[in-house]
Symmetry: C2
Subunit: 323 residues, 2 copies
């Protein structure tokens, strides 16, 4: 990255919806480039408008197909759509593996659709940190909706999905995936349920199981007034997606009316500031006394002369003192 | 947990190999109890002796069966064995789901075998933080070998496996799992490869693929002198496990001769101190100005008045100033 990159110009062109400027800005935030600070500052005033919708669910439920069909549904409403496809288990970012064009071929030539694959690049904390920034770029680029699609259903997927205003959990008939999803804690984060592949046997049973699980969940959480609707789709045939959009809109209206949107965005900003601070502090820890403090403390722990908690105390004390 | 727990007494009884004392100590470190510091201090002088062996691999290769058979192999040598079964995707800890007794029934009555299930308890950082402490307990309890078995093959599994002196990666014929494992970066962490279910068709092909992938990896890493051996097993019939033990022993000898064991343990201690420090700093961040600093900064970020990086700067400055 040349140092001469004109961030203000890039942001202006991204706001005008130029795909190359959007892609460039996402790369800048993802790579934590020296321009990152400038980019974040320039983006801040232009953010907060996009509706952020998360999509998650067990492998095999048709998440990619559903995301693509959902993009079409939003496009029918004339909305500009951003997509962040997040794969915490993949070391590949950008358009490399299962490239953006392959995933979403039908939207490849649509200049009102921005698609980006995000991956960990070998560092788990990296995603939690880069994804909200990429979201911010798409927001500033005038996207009415940003879809965040995750590949799996682990803890890290839940963390990523927690960036969304509205979280859609996808299931499909006959996979026993309701139980899997329950184990992963994914039912608790759902604002809208989608039973995809609803033309298959067992769709009604899946819906029934879901209703039962929702009723169980509600018993424990009487403070929650929103009852997640269940929408049936056949994403491969484009069926039911308008209803998914409607359900997401209803949820958004409900959130606005109940102050929940503000609360979620506040929590999201707190998590974001915290994640950035923790990354920075992690770097500072490694740099205490020119990097020698951690090295020396670790030697004493290996030798059994010191426990790691006392070592951490000493390191933090040194950190604050040197700052 | 009553405050009156006698940590010194617990550690003494754990050193004598009393299973209940071992279980109690692991619970104390896992729950981050107020006694955690005392426990860590009391354990420190008694640690560093156990050989730590990690087992990982894609689902379906027979990890649980292999772990159990490997325990038997070490028991035939008269060694005391600890097992930490780590599942980053499960919210259940202790002996709850797939309880310890079910997993390892044949060792349930052996007083020289300590088995413990570890899970995230809904907090991803928790495992990285609790697992080394549990390992320390088993080490102090006189385990000659501690096996760390992980369930999946994601980034978090790799982080957990990095606690090991020697990492065993399991594969099985005909699953295309070599490619999966390569994608997850798991081949790079392997010190020993095991092709389990070697009585099935395709075992030779899997071995051939592995050899090819190892040769590719070596081309890029000429500094690495250890060539991971490939051992074939049929864990369900107890076949080949003595050879796995031998391979792990060879790797250990090689590490000792080349100073690699010391380097790994140093890196491990550094990572441990860092993880504890980061957790503590995360708490401190939330407490800056009685918890109001983060709240106020987040409000300004939501309003687009501030970017999250500048917010993080202000928060960290406040943190150091208040410490």
């Amino acid at each position: 990255v040349p140092r001469s990159v004109d961030v203000a110009d890039l942001v202006e062109r991204a706001q005008a919806g130029q795909p190359r400027a959007v892609a460039r800005l996402i790369s800048l935030v993802e790579d934590a480039s020296p321009q990152l600070r400038k980019v974040a500052e320039a983006l801040a005033p232009h953010t907060g408008r996009a509706q952020v919708v998360g999509l998650t669910g067990p492998p095999g439920v048709g998440k990619s197909t559903s995301t693509s069909a959902l993009v079409s549904a939003y496009r029918r409403q004339g909305k500009r759509v951003g997509v962040l496809a997040v794969d915490p288990s993949s070391p590949f970012s950008g358009g490399a593996l299962l490239g953006d064009r392959v995933r979403m071929q039908e939207h490849a030539t649509d200049d009102q659709v921005f698609i980006r694959s995000m991956a960990t690049r070998g560092h788990l904390g990296g995603l939690a940190w880069a994804t909200p920034q990429a979201l911010r770029v798409l927001d500033a680029a005038g996207c009415d909706v940003v879809l965040i699609e995750t590949v799996g259903v682990g803890q890290s997927e839940i963390e990523v999905v927690s960036l969304a205003d509205t979280t859609i959990v996808l299931l499909a008939p006959g996979m026993g995936d309701g139980i899997q999803a329950a184990k992963a804690g994914i039912l608790e984060v759902a604002d809208v349920f989608v039973v995809n592949k609803a033309d298959r046997d067992g769709a009604d049973a899946t819906e029934r199981d879901l209703k039962y699980m929702i009723s169980l969940g509600r018993r424990e959480r009487t403070d929650v007034l929103w009852r997640p609707p269940i929408v049936k789709t056949v994403a491969s045939k484009g069926q039911g997606l308008d209803e998914v959009v409607e359900a997401a809109e209803s949820h958004r209206s409900w959130m606005v009316d109940h102050g929940e949107l503000e609360r979620r965005r506040q929590r999201r900003a707190e998590a974001e500031i915290e994640a950035i601070s923790v990354e920075r502090l992690r770097t500072q820890l490694g740099d205490v006394r020119g990097g020698e403090a951690l090295d020396r403390l670790a030697k004493r722990v290996v030798a059994g002369q010191l426990d790691p908690y006392t070592a951490a105390d000493e390191l933090i004390e040194d950190l604050h003192a040197g700052a």
